[in-house]
Symmetry: C2
Subunit: 165 residues, 2 copies
Amino acid sequence: MDQPTEASLQALLAIPVAALGTLHAGAPFVSMVPVALAPGGTGFLIHVSRLAQHTRDMTSDPRVSLMLMAPLTDQDPLALPRLSLEGRAEVITPESGVHAAAAQVYLARFPQAELTLGLGDFSFFLIQIEAGRLVSGFGRALSLEANQIQAALARVSRPDTLDIS
Amino acid sequence: MDQPTEASLQALLAIPVAALGTLHAGAPFVSMVPVALAPGGTGFLIHVSRLAQHTRDMTSDPRVSLMLMAPLTDQDPLALPRLSLEGRAEVITPESGVHAAAAQVYLARFPQAELTLGLGDFSFFLIQIEAGRLVSGFGRALSLEANQIQAALARVSRPDTLDIS
């Protein structure tokens, strides 16, 4: 990966909202989720209401997709940097050993989430990434393997997240 | 629908890029597509390369989802207005009677698409909407039926698109 491509990937991984694709009765369903980087680059953390359709979807089928997109400008939308990711969502129960660290990292990114963290009907999910497709400009597309994305996530998450060692 | 909700819906329908969810080998896959409003509020027009994964996905299964999101600001991302739509994608072949009108409307919105319009490997698809879910603010969510979305599309598409009567 050349330096401009790596910079584009890192900028996309730092965006705080993503489009989440879930399977709803066998059909795709896309919704919006705030995203935080999980400690150590293991994936993305989302915090979602049990009442929301995407949450029920992930509970019945863990296969998901996340898409991160650069802010829209006056340029050709086809040139807009974006990253499509394929992965699996796994609930982090309050009893899980990583729940406290997830909550700490998530609150560091979204302090206003303190309100929903106190509500019983919100849960954390960890989205682990298995493959990706980066478009960093017009005609500049690159397929990425899980280990390349994890390495980039680890680099980006370091300054953002708390040290839980 | 009250006036602020209707205004929020219209603003979202006017956004030129969407997250497209397709089915890829049974799993969800989310990518970015520029979107134009089809004449008469019949749905959304997208113009995609036959080489792209989302195009192959739509060709093998027409079920899709589109998500439109307001630009990110400093506010709580959970309050960000967004619209999730469920629908079906149908290719518009060059031989189709509506192909010329589709090209005209699309070029009026994306003049730079003249380049890709000339390439043989790009096709138009019409995405017809069957249901939707609008979030116009924190805790302000509303399920929409196909006819409500079509009516809103027709209202929004009028000033934007060409008169093809």
